[in-house]
Symmetry: C2
Subunit: 249 residues, 2 copies
Amino acid sequence: MGLDPDPGRLPSHLTDALPLPEAVSRFCKDIVAATSDSAVAFKINFAFFEALGTHGYAAMGEVLDSIPADVLTIADAKRGDIGNSASFYARAVFDELGFDSITVSPYMGRDSVDPFLTREGTCAFVLARTSNPGSADFQQLMIQDRPLFETVAERVVAWGKESRGEAGLVVGATDAGDLESLRSILLDTPFLIPGVGAQGGSAEEVMRASGSGPVLINSSRAVIYASDGEDYAAAARESAELTRQRLGS
Amino acid sequence: MGLDPDPGRLPSHLTDALPLPEAVSRFCKDIVAATSDSAVAFKINFAFFEALGTHGYAAMGEVLDSIPADVLTIADAKRGDIGNSASFYARAVFDELGFDSITVSPYMGRDSVDPFLTREGTCAFVLARTSNPGSADFQQLMIQDRPLFETVAERVVAWGKESRGEAGLVVGATDAGDLESLRSILLDTPFLIPGVGAQGGSAEEVMRASGSGPVLINSSRAVIYASDGEDYAAAARESAELTRQRLGS
């Protein structure tokens, strides 16, 4: 379950009555309470909280604290910086906020990824083949007959095997062929798969293509914006439950 | 001037007397006040503020507000996400915090970069060839006889030409040859050049290699940690002034 709270799409009775950071945190907490039975994990998109200004991290902390302990938490922050800086981003997400996992950008290479792989029981999902149109610009460039994202994926997984934390990959749902080919070379790597629902990926197709390896399949907008009325939490619950059933989990 | 306030390297008389977010903000504001005559720009590294927890963004806002209006500000945040999320990161950095520019990761392609190029009078410095050891892992992979970072650089600059905001590039100081070859194909692109000083790049070499195009040459640790005593601000001022003179600016 992805929490991407766009103020422009929140129920107006909330945004009319509350300051924006409070409206966002109330909305997300209600969605969490209504859907946590149906979700394996909640993925919190940092962009929407940072856009709230200085109160953003406090609002995010409230939402995070409301997630039951047996449900995984993913900091969708796409961080990536030189080693020293990366270790402070890891401290922010794992130690200060207390997430179980984070999304990480690979462009700066190993010393930018390693600091997210140092904590036992946590996972860094590194961007490999993403679900957006721009994924074609660089990720799919061919290097010796293989797309860049395959090289990225293989190296990141190798780094993970030498680390205490676990390395996973972000692999979009929008191209089942690429998903299938990555799974065929990385049988037991955890894949975080966005792009089902609003972005156009089919749940059934994704389940087939990702084989028997571990997957977290994300749906955000299709669930959290199921209704913009006062019944938003109940509507999200219904949509989350339908998604869960469609995924056969 | 890079502001990368590592709590472990702050003067102990500050960290002993104040809660950490306040010590960090006091330290940075003193450095800003002491060095703003010598600096063209201040680059604030988000990792160190986010690691302060929920008070981090408020501390960063205080530092940012203390920077004189005629000195440029760079959000060193290395953001990069699908278009919708990227537009919220841009809102956070340009509209909520009020920075003039930001560092951006290119891995997700054009729709992840474009939202940072929509505001007149702002600049997005996109990672091309970075100064860290890991830059060899992916940035230097050869695609049809050219390293990936060259393709990234050329495409990003082309996107910038079609945008209202300006596209610049992050090009590390640690390999003058790569810097020189990028400048030879991108004569008037602004380069943000980290890696001078603590990371080993030579200021003179960098000035020669970057030719007559626009550059911002960053030094962080060598200046802000010039002293860990009560004279830290004066020592930073001296170090910043020496760096400025060495760069002949």
